[in-house]
Amino acid sequence: MKVGNIEMNKSFEPKILAFLCNWCAYAGADLAGVSRLQYPPTIRSIRVMCSGRVDPVYIIDGLKSGFDSVFVSG
């Protein structure tokens, strides 16, 4: 049990909410996948049609619902 706990602490996997612009970052993420680049499995992405669509309130909502941080990319 204790070993498990220590391991849990060591490998704290952050949960990151990512807002990705359909035309830029989302395509970039797609490309990263297609070209088999490695990146951490920490983001949960939401595709938006433009990063300007992301209202500040959404960011706070993300934090409220338990994400460790919010990543906006466009």
Partner: protein, 165 residues
């Protein structure tokens, strides 16, 4: 974005919880790099407990939704580039200062309202809960009273107890 980060700093949550990066559709490599970077930053910050920041989060949200801040943000271009009705233009840094000052006031008011939502409180209790100085609480409370958002409920002994309207 800057305003959100300013408010997160103000509320003690920390600006690094929100990250903005520009990636074009052709930059898969850059995207992978940024995700790694953001993950590392978050890993260093540690887990975020929304329960611990319940009041500040509610207050930041309220602030970002407040008409005053929305109006001000919408007028950014007009005030800094075209000038107001007297043809006075604000310098960018002056506008930033103005926005931050307004945001701070609205944030404090929202924080007090969030505390009052949980029941009637005295000024001292509110100051304790929100972590604001007693004087700031009474100033903002005064403003809230003028807008009929908060009011006197009763006296407990000689201490006035306030409530949200």
């Amino acid at each position: 974005m800057e305003l959100v980060q300013y408010l997160l700093d103000l509320s003690g949550i920390g600006r690094d919880r929100v990250q903005l990066r520009w990636v074009s559709a052709a930059e898969g490599q850059l995207f992978a790099k940024y995700v790694t970077e953001v993950s590392n930053i978050t890993r260093e910050l540690g887990p975020f407990d929304p329960e611990e920041f319940r009041l500040p989060l509610a207050a930041v949200e309220q602030t970002l939704n407040s008409p005053r801040i929305r109006w001000l943000l919408g007028l950014t271009k007009q005030l800094t580039e075209q000038g107001n009705v007297y043809n006075e233009k604000l310098k960018n840094e002056d506008f930033k200062k103005l926005l931050q000052q307004a945001a701070e006031e609205e944030y404090h008011k929202a924080l007090i309202m969030a505390a009052l939502e949980e029941g009637p409180r005295s000024v001292r209790q509110m100051a304790e809960e929100t972590g604001l100085p007693v004087y700031t609480v009474s100033l903002r409370l005064n403003e809230l009273e003028r807008c009929n958002q908060a009011g006197l409920k009763e006296y407990s002994g000689s201490t006035p107890i306030f409530m949200g309207m």
